[in-house]
Symmetry: C2
Amino acid sequence: MLIRYSTSDLYQIYTHTFRKIADVKYASAVLQWDQETYLPPSGAVFRGQQIATLNEIAHQLFTESKTGDLLTELQSRHDLTPLQRNNVSLSLTDYNKLKKISPEFVKQLSKSISAAFHSWIEARKQNDFSVFKPLLGVLITLKQQEAAMLGYTHHPYNALMDEHEKGATVVMVDKVFAEIQPLLQNLLSQSQSLPTPDDSFLNQHFPKNKQWEWSLFIARRLGFDFDAGRQDISEHPFSTNFNSNDVRITTRIDENDFGNMTWSTIHEVGHALYEQGLPAGEYGLPSGEYASLSIHESQSRLWENCVGRSEAFWTYFFPELKKYFPEQFASVSLTEFVNGINKVKPSLIRTEADELTYHFHVMIRYELEKHLISGDLSVNEIPVYWNDLYKKLLNVDVPDDKNGCLQDVHWSHGSFGYFPTYSLGSFYAAQFWQKAKQDVPMLEQQMANNGDTQGLLTWLRTNIHAHGRQLTSEELCVSVTGSGLNSHSFIEYFTRKMNCL
Amino acid sequence: MLIRYSTSDLYQIYTHTFRKIADVKYASAVLQWDQETYLPPSGAVFRGQQIATLNEIAHQLFTESKTGDLLTELQSRHDLTPLQRNNVSLSLTDYNKLKKISPEFVKQLSKSISAAFHSWIEARKQNDFSVFKPLLGVLITLKQQEAAMLGYTHHPYNALMDEHEKGATVVMVDKVFAEIQPLLQNLLSQSQSLPTPDDSFLNQHFPKNKQWEWSLFIARRLGFDFDAGRQDISEHPFSTNFNSNDVRITTRIDENDFGNMTWSTIHEVGHALYEQGLPAGEYGLPSGEYASLSIHESQSRLWENCVGRSEAFWTYFFPELKKYFPEQFASVSLTEFVNGINKVKPSLIRTEADELTYHFHVMIRYELEKHLISGDLSVNEIPVYWNDLYKKLLNVDVPDDKNGCLQDVHWSHGSFGYFPTYSLGSFYAAQFWQKAKQDVPMLEQQMANNGDTQGLLTWLRTNIHAHGRQLTSEELCVSVTGSGLNSHSFIEYFTRKMNCL
């Protein structure tokens, strides 16, 4: 029957179908955003159910056989534009993958995630991993089942990583980490032999409302469009989006820690600028979606670190910052500030880690997840295994679960295979940053002179954001920088920074 | 096939199906709440589309023939409990009604509503009805089509009223209004012959944050459960709910008008207490839903007026209020305050009208809507017709559209047939209030002595809230007060108040 339709009519049906699915998916995202920002406590149970229903419906709509028929017919047409062909091909890949999972499983997983999230919150309150353990166990079992349903070669973790980062495998990530780990270790030793910069000025009292105003100022100055987005407060900072004209970030404010809010805001703004830069007209289609999670992280970490911890950036913004906190920074010089915010020190909390030791945090989680998903490691063993790895890789003693294996929200969201994208993203970021500085004359000078980051944003919009999901991470990296992922860029970037500071 | 299932299994399938539909409907409500509170401006277009998709899906799920088969089979079973039988019967009525409307129509209507809402906002900004007119015309045409699809006898407006108030007809409402109008007119003349109380103290400067704190205080004291709800700011106050554990109200604050926020908050709290009092375990089923809009309005107007404008209430709360605004009310006595807040004066804005003239505002809209839906009146004629009726019934001159036919949000929401429920609700409220005072000893004394409204709330919970939608408005009124709607209760209530003040 579909054969009777013209290609352009068929493509329109395709667009209509996928926009409808997107409507449901993004509606679920609104409910999740609300869950983490404004939901009254007693509303949690029904909310979990409502999110699960929407996820089930989105999955059902996607995996209906008529969706498959439509995509198959479209793929056989010869008069699609290259962009259309690419969209159809990506949607068909998604279809074939999702088809392997039943709507019931999606609903069950979604409900288990809501329950696990609340038990994680409770476990953190009680500072006791054993509170979270039973529901984490349930989630791990479900994720193992999911890997089995999706299918994989070599390692079940591959199936889960593939959901976040198409094509990522244990072999590939092991190789990247094996290569870079001794180099990072070496840089760490070097940095530890240098005099320790003072960063105590970050831990004075910074009133909440002033921090809030500062975060809005900095977000706006980095190019975040508040007509097409907003910032709110949540327990754990995140960014989300419901279309490229409604992109939301959250932050949290610790009155005794200036860094906590500032770099997490810049990080989330980095994510948000990417989403605000995706082509709005391609809503619901792969060409309107982000390329991959590692590319998403490349954006957040580029802004957070390459920009947000650079001397050029703070040359302009440190005097601005002093207007918000004149007393706190009265006796701090620009050099002291930049040195302080780049202090390298092995620590317990990933999100507060410096740029260098950050990757050890990621590697620890990656090792753990591989073994949890393969079944080599039981949930019971997590705390000990976690603490041992922190001792081994970072030489720190984990005092309790809150500062240990309970610190990240990811597992409670059922996100396994996500962490590696943080490191991959940082390595991509270093490559993009290097290239952007080559391509955009005066990039750092303009930042330093008048806080103007528009040159960088335009470069990212053109070279990365505009492409949506048309290229894979690696294709995008090659198209932008001339070569695939090369973690040496990160080492070079960091070595240069260390030598300059 | 259904015949093979046990009744209890079938009822479980029914529960599961209707909870799923409720999940989608309430998800749509979350998106609408967000639209009116936090949505960034550029997000409006896609949001309208997302809401429309959810409404379409909810409608599709409800009207699937398998839903009808399930309900029909269940209705034939003899071993349902009375509550179950009633639920099934009500759901079948809903099904047969909704079945007459296609999902496409629902989507089209929903999209037109989103567009009309934004054009209404714009028209208000420009204070120009002609901006809103074209899209209002579209909505009226759609509502006429809807009435035709639903079917009706005598008058198409009956079909639309029936959606808000089951069984309400033009004949019945005409009769109620025809009876009460001369009595109201008479009371109005009487009240105008009395000395005009001073209410100028309501229009001093009341700082925003203090008003906000006061609104939270009063909401909490009236029994609003902030663990199962919240209050936010919106352009137009409303209440909504996503289950009885997540009920939300909004308010707006005018720094130069104390009354604007206070009685709208008490009004919305009245709605919210009803929703928080519905049986949570009956989520998604008629027994977990409100009885009708007029009963909903009876709750809001009972709290707003019978309680919130009573001397007993303010005997306790006026001293509390003075703690929030000591300067503003320093020279105002309790008697002056109560007289002021009960001042009767024909005016332009419905939501700011006193208890008595309020009903003329409703009658004007009712007259207009009847003629718009029957096609006797065109959208072009609205402003003139509106202004004429205000002159005729209230003897006020409408200076512009903002203070005239652009004042209410309802039409932009596609709500035609809603307004009459405000008056019906007030009349029910007067009856309930009378009965509650008889049933609960010391009701007013406890309010006056220690601001305790728990006695009233418990009475409402038991007699009204707990029943969900098991009884119609009239059945409920009979079961609670011993007789059906009797607008004389309102006249008596108001006459007594007028004589006491």
